[in-house]
C-alpha cells in the first residue's frame, strides 16, 4: 500500500434500514474488481451479498455486524466499513464513525430522510464526520431526488446541493448530468460497467445550466478564487470547483449530493469519483488521544509514520483462527512481529498475523501505515482498547456507549449448552459493549441485556448457531432502575458477639442523590474512628447494595454514600463486619431517602400515511406515551413521541394492524424517567410476591 496518506480514504456507509447500503457496497466491490460477480442481498442465487457474511444476515437480509473491506479506485485506496441500518445495532454505527474519516449517507429516493437517517446524521455530527449523500433507488416509482435534497436541508439541516441531475427517473433512469463537468454520464453494459460520456441532451441543457449556476453560487462561498472568476465572468476550471466543494465538505459546511440506483448499476462509479474528490484523507482530519502519563491531557495524533504507534481496536470478531481485532492506526507503523502495548491493561502483546479484510476473506500483509484500517490475529483485548509502543501511553478518547434497556433470562438446556453459552457470552460481551451478561445471584439465572428486542434476539440466535448452545429464553424484561430523591442519614452498628470470634462495626453517614454517575463513595472519617484498612470494606458493602434495590429489585444508581462517623472493636472488627455494617447502614438510609423506580423511555418515530395519523397517535397515548410532535410531509406524516419501553413490546404488530402495514416505526433509548405511582406500586407488589415465594 502506498505510503502517501493523501491516497487513503477510510469511509463508512450509513443509512436507514433497507436503503440499499449493502447493495451499493456490492457494486463498489464489483467496479473496483474485488469481486467478479454481483449477488443481491436476498437474491435468487442464494449466495447473498458479499458484505453480509454472517449466515443470519444473509437469511434476514439485514446487516448485523459491520464488515470491513478494502478496495482501490483509480489512484486511491478505500477502506469501507459497511454499517448496520437497524437502530438496535447503533453501537456498530458509532464505532465505525469513530474510526472513519468520511462517510456516505445513503437515502432512498422515495422514502427520503427517514428516522434512522436522522439518528445516523446526529452520530456523524457528534464525531464530526464529513459526509456526502447518495440518493439511491432513483429507478423506483415516485423517485424524487429534489425533494430528498430539500429534506436533507430541512430535516438534517445540512447545506445539501445536488451535484448531478437525473437523465430520466423511475424506470426511465438512464444516467446523470454532471453539473461540474457539464457532461452527460451513461452507465452501460450488462452491469453498468461501461461509462459513456456524452453531451447533455438538448432538452435538459437550459435546466442544467441554471442548476450549475445555483450550485456554483453556493460553492463559491468556499473559494475566493472561484468567486472572483465568477464576478469577472471568466472561465471556471473544473478542478477549482472540486477544490471548493472539498473545502466546504471537510469543514462540514457543505454536503454534495449524488444520485443513482445501485440495484440498476447506475451512478456508482461517479459516487466513487466523489469519494476520491471530496472525502478527507487521514491527514485532513484531526484526531485526539488522551495522554495517560500526563493526567489524561488531550493530545493531537500526528498521522506521522515515524512517530510512536497509536492504534485503536474498534471491533472484535471470533473467527476460525481465533480472535480477529480490527484496528485503525493514527500514527506510527504497525508491523507483523512487533511488540505493542495495550494502554488499558498495560500488557505487552506480539502482533502475529496482520491482515487486510475483505468481508470474510483476508489478505496477509507485513505492515500497515498510519491512517490505515487492518485486522490483527490472536490479540487478547476488548473493543475500544488503544495500542501503542512503549514510548507513549495514549488512549483514544472513549466512545459514547449507551446503557442497555432490555434484558431477558437465558437458561441452558444441559451442561454442554451451559459451557458453550459461557463461551459465547464471553465473546459477545467483549465484541459489543452494549450487550451485557451477568448472573442473578438470587435466582441463579443468567441475564443478558441489550439495546432492544432484535438486538438480543440476534445474539440468542448466534449462540445457537455459532456455539451450538441450546438455550431457553425468558420473556423480555425492562431494565428498571432505582434511585433516591433526597438526603438521608444512617447510623448502623453490626454486632455479633455471642460466643466464638465476634463481629463488630459501626458506620454512620448519609446517602444523597448523585446528579451524574451511578455511584460515588465519600470517606469523611477523621480521627481513625474507622481504621483505614476497613474503609474499602464499607465501600464494598455499599456496592453490594446497589445490585438490587429494595423496592423492585432493580439496580440502584445515582447514589452518593458518605461516611463520617463510626466505631470499631480492637478484636472483633473485621472486613466482613464493616461490609455488613455498611449494608445495614445503606438499608437504613435508603428507605428514608425516598427511593423511586426509573424506567427507560424510548424516542419513537412513526412514519406513515396521514390518514392513519389519528390511529397511530391514539396507540401512542394508550401506551403512556408523550407525543412530542408531528411533521406533515404531504400524504405522509411523521410522529415523534417518547414512550416507556415497557409499553412498546409487540408494538410492531399493533402498528401493522392499525395501518394496514403502511406505517413503520423505529425507536432508540432517550432517557430514564420516574415511573408513575400506579406502575411503581405494581412493580413493588410483584417484587414482594417474588421474594415471598423465595
Amino acid at each position: 500500500m502506498s505510503k502517501d496518506l493523501s491516497n487513503v480514504r477510510n469511509i463508512g456507509i450509513s443509512a436507514h434500514i433497507d436503503s440499499g447500503k449493502t447493495t451499493l457496497t456490492e457494486r463498489i466491490l464489483f467496479y473496483t474488481n474485488r469481486i467478479h460477480a454481483i449477488h443481491e442481498v436476498r437474491g435468487k442465487d442464494g449466495v447473498g451479498a458479499k458484505m453480509d457474511s454472517m449466515e443470519l444476515e444473509k437469511e434476514r437480509g439485514i446487516t448485523i455486524q459491520s464488515a470491513a473491506t478494502h478496495c482501490s479506485w483509480k489512484d486511491i485506496n478505500i477502506n469501507i466499513i459497511d454499517t448496520p441500518g437497524h437502530v438496535d445495532f447503533t453501537i456498530e454505527v458509532e464505532r465505525a464513525l469513530r474510526v472513519l474519516d468520511g462517510a456516505v449517507l445513503i437515502l432512498c429516493s422515495v422514502g427520503g430522510v427517514q428516522s434512522q437517517s436522522i439518528t445516523v446524521n446526529r452520530q456523524m455530527t457528534r464525531y464530526k464526520v464529513p459526509r456526502i449523500a447518495f440518493i439511491n433507488k432513483c429507478d423506483r416509482t415516485g423517485a424524487n431526488p429534489e425533494r430528498v435534497t430539500q429534506q436533507l436541508r430541512d430535516k438534517l439541516e445540512l447545506n445539501a446541493h445536488l451535484m448531478q441531475m437525473p437523465i430520466g427517473l423511475e424506470n426511465e433512469l438512464a444516467g446523470v448530468v454532471d453539473l461540474v463537468t457539464m457532461k452527460a454520464v451513461y452507465y452501460e453494459g450488462d452491469n453498468g460497467e461501461v461509462i459513456r460520456i456524452a453531451e447533455i441532451p438538448e432538452s435538459m441543457q437550459e435546466a442544467a445550466q441554471a442548476k450549475r449556476e445555483a450550485l456554483l453560487e453556493e460553492v463559491s462561498l468556499f473559494s475566493d478564487e472561484l468567486m472572483e472568476i465568477m464576478v469577472e465572468e471568466g472561465e471556471i476550471d473544473t478542478q477549482m470547483i472540486h477544490d471548493a466543494v472539498r473545502k466546504g465538505t471537510l469543514a462540514l459546511e457543505f454536503t454534495p449530493v449524488f444520485i443513482g440506483s445501485a440495484y440498476k448499476n447506475k451512478g456508482i462509479q461517479t459516487l466513487l469519483d466523489s469519494v476520491r474528490e471530496y472525502l478527507p484523507c487521514p491527514t485532513d482530519v484531526e484526531n485526539f488521544a488522551l495522554d495517560l502519563k500526563n493526567h489524561e491531557t488531550e493530545v493531537k495524533v500526528t498521522n506521522n509514520p515515524d512517530d510512536p504507534l497509536v492504534a485503536l481496536a474498534f471491533k472484535l470478531e471470533d473467527g476460525r483462527y481465533g480472535q480477529l481485532t480490527y484496528v485503525r492506526t493514527y500514527q506510527g507503523v504497525l508491523q507483523k512481529g512487533d511488540t505493542i502495548y495495550n494502554s488499558r491493561t498495560g500488557k505487552k502483546v506480539k502482533v502475529g498475523r496482520l491482515v487486510r479484510m475483505h468481508s470474510d476473506e483476508m489478505e496477509e500483509i507485513e505492515s500497515c501505515n498510519s491512517g490505515d484500517i487492518v485486522a490483527m490475529f490472536g490479540i487478547d483485548c476488548a473493543s475500544g482498547d488503544t495500542f501503542t509502543d512503549d514510548r507513549i501511553s495514549y488512549s483514544m478518547t472513549s466512545m459514547h456507549i449507551p446503557e442497555p434497556v432490555i434484558s431477558l433470562a437465558v437458561i441452558p438446556v444441559d451442561n454442554k449448552a451451559q459451557i458453550n453459552m459461557s463461551k459465547a457470552l464471553n465473546r459477545f460481551t467483549k465484541e459489543d459493549p452494549t450487550f451485557r451478561a451477568f448472573v442473578d445471584h438470587e435466582t441463579g439465572e443468567t441475564i443478558v441485556s441489550g439495546m432492544g428486542e432484535l438486538h438480543l434476539e440476534v445474539y440468542i440466535e448466534r449462540m445457537k448457531r455459532e456455539y451450538n448452545a441450546e438455550v431457553q429464553v425468558g420473556a423480555p424484561q425492562v431494565a428498571y432502575r432505582e434511585t433516591i430523591t433526597s438526603r438521608a442519614e444512617f447510623n448502623y452498628t453490626h454486632k455479633k458477639q455471642t460466643g466464638g470470634s465476634g463481629q463488630f462495626g459501626r458506620v454512620a453517614g448519609y446517602l444523597e442523590p448523585l446528579e451524574e454517575g451511578d455511584y460515588e463513595f465519600v470517606d469523611k472519617i477523621v480521627g481513625g474512628v474507622i481504621p483505614r484498612e476497613y474503609i474499602p470494606s464499607c465501600d464494598k458493602g455499599f456496592h453490594k447494595c446497589l445490585e438490587k434495590g429494595s423496592l423492585s429489585g432493580a439496580t440502584v444508581t445515582g447514589v452518593r454514600c458518605v461516611i463520617n462517623d463510626g466505631a470499631y472493636h480492637a478484636v472483633d472488627s473485621s472486613d466482613i463486619a464493616f461490609q455488613l455494617a455498611a449494608i445495614g447502614g445503606f438499608k437504613e438510609g435508603y428507605l428514608k431517602a425516598k427511593p423511586v423506580i426509573m424506567e427507560p423511555i424510548m424516542k419513537v418515530a412513526v412514519e406513515g400515511p396521514t390518514e392513519f395519523q389519528g390511529a397511530v397517535m391514539g396507540s401512542i397515548n394508550q401506551r403512556r406515551g408523550m407525543i412530542i410532535g408531528t411533521t406533515d410531509e404531504g400524504s405522509y406524516t411523521a410522529i415523534e413521541a417518547e414512550v416507556p419501553l415497557s409499553e412498546m413490546f409487540g408494538y410492531s404488530t399493533t402498528l401493522r394492524s392499525l395501518t394496514q402495514g403502511k406505517a413503520e416505526f423505529t425507536m432508540e433509548f432517550a432517557t430514564f424517567k420516574q415511573v408513575p405511582r400506579g406502575v411503581s406500586e405494581e412493580l413493588i407488589k410483584k417484587y414482594q410476591l417474588e421474594k415471598s415465594k423465595g
Binding site: D154, K155, E157, T485, Q613, G614, A615, M617, G618, N621, M626, I627, I628, G629, T630, T631, D632, E633, G634, E640, K673, Q674
Partner: protein, 235 residues
C-alpha cells in the same frame, strides 16, 4: 418552590396575561418584528406560561423542524428554572412538557383547512385537546382576512382560549394601522386583541405593547428584553 411559584416568578408575568390564560374568554395575539429578532422566543414564553398554568398548547411551526421548536422550549425552560430551588425539578418539567404538542408544516403546504382537519381529528379521537394555539411562521402576505376570520370562528368552535401568531415586518414597508400595527398586519389588526412588537435599539431590545386588551399593562408601554435570553427584564 413548585410549579405555582414558577408561574409567579416568570418574567412574562409583567405582561399580565392571566385573564387570557385562565379566564373563559377567547383572544388572538400577535408578535411582530423584523426577521431574526426573537419572535419565536416570545411566543415560546407565552406558551410556557400557559402550559405552567395547566393549559394544553399546540405549537404549530411552519417551515421549521420539530427539533428546532423543541430546543426553544428546552432553552427557555432552563432559563426560567435556572437558579431556582424547585423540588422534583425533573417531574415538574415533565409535567409542564406534557401540556405541549408540536406540529410542523411546510410553508407551501400549510393552510387553514388542513389545520382544522388535523386538529378536529385529534380532538374527536380524544388524543389532544389544546387550549392555546401558537402559530409560528404564518404567512400574512398570502392569507386573506377571510382566513383569519375563519380561524376566529374555529377558535370559538373548539373552545380555544388563545391563538398567538408571529409575523415578519419589513424595514422598507412603513405602512401602519391607526393603532400603530405595522404591515403586513395593518389591515387585519382589528382581529387581534393583543399586538406586541420587538424593536432593537443599539445594543438593547425592547418589547412594545402596541395593543393589549385585558392585560396588566397599557398600550404604549415598552418593556426591556434581555438580549442574551430574550426574557423580559425585571425593573
Amino acid at each position: 418552590m413548585g410549579k405555582e411559584e414558577l408561574v409567579l416568578n416568570n418574567p412574562l408575568r409583567a405582561l399580565g396575561l392571566e385573564e387570557k390564560a385562565e379566564g373563559n374568554g377567547q383572544s388572538m395575539g400577535l408578535v411582530m418584528s423584523r426577521a431574526g429578532l426573537g419572535k419565536t422566543a416570545i411566543l415560546v414564553q407565552i406558551a410556557l406560561d400557559s402550559m405552567m398554568r395547566g393549559n394544553k398548547v399546540l405549537h404549530i411551526s411552519i417551515g421549521e423542524s420539530i427539533d428546532k421548536a423543541k430546543s426553544w422550549y428546552n432553552d427557555i425552560l432552563s432559563l426560567i428554572t435556572k437558579g431556582k430551588n424547585i423540588e422534583n425539578i425533573h417531574e415538574v418539567i415533565s409535567e409542564i412538557l406534557h401540556n405541549r404538542m408540536i406540529m410542523t408544516f411546510k410553508e407551501a403546504s400549510f393552510n387553514q383547512a388542513k389545520l382544522e382537519e388535523r386538529l378536529d381529528d385529534m380532538v374527536k379521537q380524544n388524543i389532544y385537546k389544546p387550549d392555546c394555539l401558537i402559530i409560528d411562521g404564518y404567512d400574512f402576505n398570502e392569507n386573506s382576512r377571510a382566513a383569519l376570520i375563519g380561524l376566529r370562528r374555529f377558535m370559538k368552535e373548539q373552545g380555544l382560549k388563545m391563538v398567538w401568531f408571529s409575523a415578519v415586518s419589513h424595514r422598507e414597508d412603513s405602512r401602519k394601522s391607526s393603532d400603530g400595527v405595522p404591515a403586513p398586519c395593518h389591515e387585519v389588526d382589528d382581529l387581534f386583541e393583543t399586538v406586541l412588537t420587538i424593536k432593537p435599539d443599539n445594543q438593547n431590545i425592547y418589547l412594545d405593547i402596541v395593543k393589549c386588551a385585558s392585560c396588566a399593562v397599557k398600550a404604549g408601554l415598552t418593556l426591556a428584553l434581555d438580549p442574551s435570553t430574550m426574557l423580559i427584564m425585571k425593573a
